[in-house]
């Protein structure tokens, strides 16, 4: 009797912890959705229950977002920077991760940790000197400044992820390829890279989400509205526009956050094993 009371108590505690905290996490996203589809009159009537639709849902805010603001341009800008940064990251981090995971003697492990630590150097320390570098290269107010600077934080963690990934591939794979006549480098490109596609995809997704999340560099380097990424365009430009703009604003927030989160979710276990540095076995 006491025993069953205990298990029920434990279950109830667990359910309430999960219920309350999950609501806390997901609420702002639910709120974006509700706001984005409400008619303006309904949205700003203080007598209305904000959770309910008194008038039918509308697409007016989404239309306004795409036809009357530069939101679409910002999405394109973000995609442009994202794709280029992903390509640069793969070109730099995949070979580096392979060298760290395979070809290293004692220096490899140490260098690997060194590279991992640079991931921790925050933009807050670097944005001031980098703003001068960007001006000197005549890249200020250009998306290319972001393409140049973003790999500095995507490469370290990606190289670290790839290192773990390559360590898990048996050495026999390359040995066999080399017996077949490939050089050491040939074995890497022709045999190891093709079977590592899921690892490379992980790095691509990870880098792309980091590009979408970056704020400090973008707000420092980019000044004209047309060149903004979605991450700075929404908070700096849309917010200070029209007071009754919340419907479009929330639509913009939802579109820029939830799809990428769904994509990220497929790879999350890999990122976590990278974050935990092998402290979990």
């Amino acid at each position: 009797m006491v025993e069953s009371f205990r298990t029920w108590g434990a279950r109830l505690t667990r359910a309430s912890i999960l219920g309350v905290l999950t609501f806390f996490f997901a609420f702002p996203f639910l709120w974006m959705l509700i706001t984005a589809f409400k008619q303006t009159g309904d949205l700003y009537d203080l007598q209305h229950n904000p959770f309910l639709f008194y008038e039918p849902p509308t697409l007016e805010h989404v239309k306004r977002l795409f036809y009357e603001t530069l939101y679409g341009q910002w999405l394109l800008n973000t995609a442009f920077v994202g794709v280029l940064v992903v390509l640069i990251t793969i070109a730099l981090a995949v070979p580096a991760g392979y060298a760290l995971g395979r070809l290293s003697g004692g220096w490899g492990a140490r260098l690997g940790i060194g590279i991992f630590l640079t991931y921790l150097v925050p933009p807050t320390l670097l944005f001031i000197p980098l703003s001068r570098v960007v001006v000197n290269l005549h890249l200020d107010d250009s998306l290319w400044s972001l393409v140049l600077v973003y790999p500095s934080f995507t490469v370290p963690f990606s190289a670290w992820l790839m290192m773990g990934f390559f360590k898990a591939i048996p050495r026999d794979v390359e040995e066999a390829a080399m017996i077949d006549g490939y050089s050491r480098l040939g074995a890497f490109f022709r045999v190891v890279v093709p079977i590592s596609m899921s690892g490379i995809l992980t790095v691509a997704i990870f880098s792309f989400t980091l590009v979408m999340q970056e704020f400090v560099y973008a707000v420092t380097f980019i000044s004209s509205v047309r060149n903004m990424t979605v991450g700075i365009g929404v908070p700096t430009f849309l917010v200070h526009g029209d007071v009754y703009f919340w419907g479009s604003l929330m639509a913009g927030c939802f579109i820029a956050s939830v799809p990428v989160a769904i994509l990220y979710n497929f790879f999350v276990d890999r990122f976590i094993s990278g974050f935990t540095m092998g402290a979990v076995k």
Binding site: P122, I128, S131, V260
Partner: protein, 314 residues
């Protein structure tokens, strides 16, 4: 170098003998060749700017460019004396420490609750991860709307329950409420990462250990403090270190929600460095303020080195 390589990998030296002995086959050269571009990139765009930040902090440079005169520690002494800086330092500590303590407690509770499988667990994990994955500058805008002075849904709920009459609270307009609000948003943002890291830690404890404790008749709290907690301590440290670095160096939440206000009561070092260095154009003073975050960075780096060393030994 060559000798040690062939001792370490005799099988490779055998295959190497078969093919041409070229630079593409020499392990040590190839290793450097593959890693050099990444190291060069990071050196140029992290190492070099870092050294520049060090130099700026002892110079009199501004966004206008021109002079780069050496002024010694003048920026630091000038900065430390100002009430603005002292407030920011105090706020940074309040903001960071309260956030971290709450994150540690809540992430443990959440990881424990999520440990066992149940229907819908994957969906819940996805929902929990949302704030971490969604771009933070975008997520904070949803909070700006939730905290809106006129249309705040929080005030509506409070009115409904009869807790407040009239307008309700100015969530971002009053000093203590504003600090509480940005701490809540920071927890919202950082808790997911801590939770999934801890979840990985809990999952790695072998079931036998839990069974043995159950056989010994340990209750929930004794089980947790004497069996589980010591085992997940290293992984908790990892979560804590990430939390510290992401909390203390972040300015996005403050930039978007309060701009440091009201009356600088939510200004932290990271945001002050931005407002001074970029918005105010005083690169030297901004760099000096940002460098006060360096000791923290160093401590976190040492923490990670300790963990790396530990995992290498075991």
């Amino acid at each position: 170098m060559e000798a040690s390589t062939s001792v370490a990998h005799p099988q490779n030296s055998a295959s190497r003998a078969k093919s041409r002995a070229s630079i593409l086959d020499s392990e040590s050269w190839l290793g450097w060749l593959l890693i050099a571009p990444a190291v060069l990139y990071i050196t140029l765009l992290v190492g070099l700017p870092f050294l520049m930040a060090l130099y700026y902090s002892v110079s009199d440079t501004t966004t206008g460019g021109g002079s780069m005169g050496f002024v010694g520690l003048r920026n630091f002494t000038a900065v430390i004396g100002t009430p603005k800086f002292q407030t920011a330092l105090k706020n940074t500590l309040t903001f960071g420490l309260i956030s971290q303590v709450l994150i540690l407690i809540l992430s443990n509770a959440l990881a424990l609750a999520l440990q066992r499988d149940f229907p819908g667990r994957r969906l819940i994990r996805f929902l929990i991860l949302l704030p971490w994955v969604a771009p933070i500058s975008i997520g904070t805008i949803a909070w700006l709307w939730i905290f809106d002075s006129t249309y705040s849904v929080l005030n509506w709920i409070l009115r409904l329950t009869g807790l407040v009459q009239g307008q309700g609270y100015m969530w971002l307009g009053l000093p203590h409420l504003a600090m509480g609000s940005i701490i809540a948003v920071n927890i919202w943002r950082q808790l997911p990462l801590a939770t999934v890291i801890l979840l990985a830690g809990y999952g790695s404890i072998p079931q036998d250990i839990h069974d043995a404790a159950a056989v010994d008749g340990a209750g929930f709290w004794r089980h947790f403090f004497q069996v589980t907690l010591p085992l997940i301590l290293p992984i908790t440290l990892v979560a804590l270190l990430f939390g510290l670095i992401f909390t203390f160096t972040d300015m996005v939440i403050i930039y978007n929600l309060t701009r440091g206000g009201p009356f600088d009561t939510t200004q932290v070092l990271a945001s002050l460095a931005f407002y001074t260095g970029i918005a105010g154009g005083d690169l030297a003073e901004g760099a000096a303020i940002a460098l006060f975050l360096f000791p923290l960075l160093l401590a976190v780096a040492l923490g990670f080195l300790m963990i790396a060393h530990r995992t290498e030994v075991t």
